[in-house]
C-alpha cells in the first residue's frame, strides 16, 4: 500500500496522520497485506455466513416501553437544552 493509498484510507476513516505515522503505517500495512496473500491460495466453500454459528431473526413484541431513562443517558453527554451538542454540519 503506497502512501497515497494510506492517505486516502485515513481520510475515509476520519483519521489525520502525521508524516511519521504515514511512513510507519504504510510499511506495516504492506507487510500485513503481503501476509494476507495467503488467502489467495486458501480453499473455499459455497457457504459464507456472516456468523460462525447459525443465527435466526429474533423479534420482540412491538410494544412501546422505556428502555433507559433519557435523562440518565444525557447526564454524561455534552448537551444544550436536552439536545446533544455537536459540530456544525457545513
Amino acid at each position: 500500500m503506497d502512501r497515497a493509498t494510506v492517505e486516502r484510507v485515513a481520510r475515509a476513516a476520519h483519521i489525520k496522520l502525521t508524516e511519521d505515522e504515514l511512513e510507519r503505517y504504510s510499511n506495516d500495512l504492506n507487510d500485513i497485506l503481503t501476509y494476507f496473500e495467503l488467502l489467495d491460495e486458501a480453499p473455499e466453500c459455497e457457504e459464507s455466513g456472516v456468523n460462525p454459528v447459525e443465527v435466526a431473526d429474533v423479534l420482540r413484541d412491538d410494544e412501546p416501553r422505556m428502555c433507559i431513562d433519557p435523562d440518565v443517558l444525557l447526564k454524561d453527554m455534552d448537551t444544550y437544552e436536552r439536545y446533544i451538542r455537536g459540530p456544525r454540519l457545513s
Binding site: D31, A42, P52, D57
Partner: protein
C-alpha cells in the same frame, strides 16, 4: 474482612500489578456472596468504562452489560474493571491508552492480552473470578501467561449486550479463574438467551449433562513453531492425559494456516466499522471545538485519542472493505472461516476436543514486546485464532512452567455448544496437575 479493608488491600495490590483501571468505591458489601471483576469493555453502571482507550475516558455507562448484571443477580459484587489492550487490539495488554497490567510471576513481563487485567486479578486474588472477552484469543492467551484457567464459550452462548464491540461475529464473553470449578459455575451464570442480543437466542439449552472428555486430537499444525520449553511441557501433558485414560491422536488440519489472515481481515473489517461511532460525541471525550466543521471535529478526536494499534486496525479494516478489494479480502475470509469450521467438525466427529499449546512461548518481557513489529505480534496468535474464527468453545489450562517459573498453558477446543466436555477435563486436570500460585508482591 470489612469492605473497607478489602478495598484498601485491592488498591495496594493494584498499585503493583495495575490489573484494574477502575475500582468500586462502594464500601457496602451487603449480602454479596462473592467478589468478581470484569474486563473494561463490559459496561458497568457504577464504574467508568474505557475499554483501554483514551477516547472513552469519562464514559459512565447508563446500564450494566447483561453478563455483569447476571453476576450481580447471582450474588456477586463487582470490585474492579480490568485493564486491557485498547478495544481488545493486542496479544499482550501492552497496546493500552491507560494502564498496562503486570504479570503476577514477573512484573517486567506481560500478562497477555487482551484480557490481561482479568487474568492477573484471577491469579493474584484468592477465590476471585473475572469476566474476560475473547475475539481472537483474548481469554486463553492471558490465562496461559498468568497460569490460570480460562474459557471462551461458543459464540452466542453469552449475551454480548453491553459489550463494547470489537468484532461482532467474533466476540465472546467468558470466565477466568484460578479454580477450574469456577468455569462451569460462572459460565452457567452468564450464559443464556437475551432478547437484547439476538445472536444469543438460538443457543440450545445449557445443561449439566455429565458428558466426559475421552479423546483429544492434536493437530500437527498446532505443534509447530513452539519454544523448546512449551514443547516439552506439552508433551509431558499429553502423557499425563493418557495416564488419565484419554486417547491422544495426532491429526492433520490443513485449514489452520489460513485462519490467521482470514481472522485479521474479518476482525479489522468489523472493528473499523464499530469504531466509527467514536467521534467526540455521546461517549467519553467531548471537549472539542464546536465551531469546527464536523469532518474536522471527528478527525480531531479520532487522531488525538485513538492509540497506534487502533489506528492501524481501522486503516487495515477500512482498506479491506473498500470497493475493489472487498471480494479479495472480506468475502474470501468469510468463505475460509467456513472451511476452518468444517475442518474442526471433521476432526470432532471422532474426538471430543482438539488440543494444542495455548501460546507458542511464555509471557514475554515488555522490552521485547516493544521491539516486535505489528505483524510479528499478530502471528503470535496463530494457536488461539482458529477456534475464535470458528466460534467453537475453547479453554486454556495451566500445564507447566519454564525455567524462569513462567506459566505454560494448553488449549482444548470442543464442538459448538459442547462446553460440557471442557468443564469435565478442566476439573479432572486440576486434580491431576499441581498448579502454582504466584507469590504476591505487597
Amino acid at each position: 474482612m470489612s469492605m473497607e479493608g478489602i478495598l484498601s488491600r485491592l488498591k495496594e495490590t493494584n498499585s503493583k500489578y495495575s490489573m484494574f483501571h477502575a475500582m468500586t468505591e462502594d464500601t457496602d458489601l451487603g449480602d454479596a456472596g462473592f467478589l468478581f471483576s470484569a474486563k473494561d469493555n463490559l459496561t458497568s453502571a457504577d464504574m467508568e468504562t474505557c475499554a483501554g482507550s483514551k477516547i472513552l475516558i469519562g464514559y459512565r455507562p447508563a446500564f450494566d452489560a447483561t453478563s455483569i448484571s447476571k453476576m450481580r443477580e447471582a450474588g456477586g459484587k463487582l470490585i474492579g474493571k480490568c485493564n486491557m489492550d485498547e478495544f481488545g487490539f493486542g496479544t499482550f495488554s501492552y497496546n493500552s491508552g491507560l494502564e498496562i497490567p503486570r504479570n503476577p510471576y514477573d512484573l517486567e513481563r506481560a500478562c497477555g492480552g487482551s484480557s490481561g487485567g482479568s487474568a492477573c486479578a484471577a491469579a493474584v486474588f484468592d477465590s476471585h473470578v473475572s469476566l474476560g472477552v475473547s475475539t481472537g484469543g483474548s481469554i486463553c492467551c492471558p490465562a496461559s501467561f498468568c497460569g490460570v484457567y480460562g474459557i471462551a464459550p461458543t459464540y452466542g452462548r453469552v449475551s454480548r449486550y453491553g459489550l463494547i464491540d470489537y468484532g461482532n461475529s467474533l466476540d465472546k464473553i467468558g470466565v477466568i479463574s484460578a479454580d477450574a470449578k469456577d468455569l462451569r459455575k460462572y459460565t452457567h451464570v452468564i450464559a443464556g438467551k437475551d432478547p437484547k442480543d439476538p445472536t444469543s437466542c438460538v443457543q440450545p439449552d445449557f445443561k449439566d449433562t455429565g458428558k466426559k472428555m475421552r479423546s483429544v486430537a492434536v493437530p500437527r499444525e498446532g505443534v509447530e513453531g513452539l519454544s523448546k520449553e512449551v514443547e516439552t511441557a506439552f508433551k509431558e501433558s499429553l502423557e499425563s492425559l493418557k495416564s488419565m485414560g484419554l486417547d491422544v491422536e495426532y491429526v492433520e488440519m490443513p485449514s489452520l494456516k489460513y485462519a490467521m489472515p482470514a481472522y485479521y481481515v474479518l476482525a479489522t473489517s468489523e472493528a473499523s466499522t464499530n469504531l466509527a461511532r467514536y467521534v467526540g460525541m455521546r461517549y467519553g471525550q467531548q471537549e472539542g471545538d464546536h465551531s469546527l466543521k464536523f469532518d474536522d471535529y471527528f478527525s480531531y478526536f479520532r487522531s488525538q485519542y485513538f492509540g497506534d494499534e487502533a489506528k492501524r486496525r481501522i486503516l487495515l479494516g477500512t482498506y479491506t472493505r473498500m470497493a475493489g478489494f472487498r471480494d479479495r479480502y472480506y468475502a474470501k475470509a468469510l468463505k475460509v472461516r467456513q472451511v476452518v469450521i468444517k475442518d474442526y467438525k471433521r476432526v470432532l466427529e471422532s474426538h471430543d476436543a482438539v488440543l494444542a499449546p495455548t501460546m507458542p512461548f511464555t509471557a514475554p518481557r515488555f522490552d521485547d514486546i516493544s521491539k516486535m513489529s505489528a505483524l510479528d505480534s499478530y502471528k503470535a496468535d496463530y494457536l488461539t485464532v482458529p477456534a475464535n474464527l470458528a466460534g467453537t468453545p475453547h479453554m486454556s489450562v495451566p500445564c507447566g512452567y519454564d525455567k524462569d517459573g513462567m506459566p505454560i498453558g494448553m488449549q482444548f477446543v470442543a464442538d459448538h455448544w459442547n462446553e460440557e466436555v471442557l468443564f469435565d477435563i478442566a476439573e479432572r486436570w486440576e486434580r491431576s496437575f499441581k498448579a502454582r500460585r504466584p507469590e504476591v508482591v505487597s
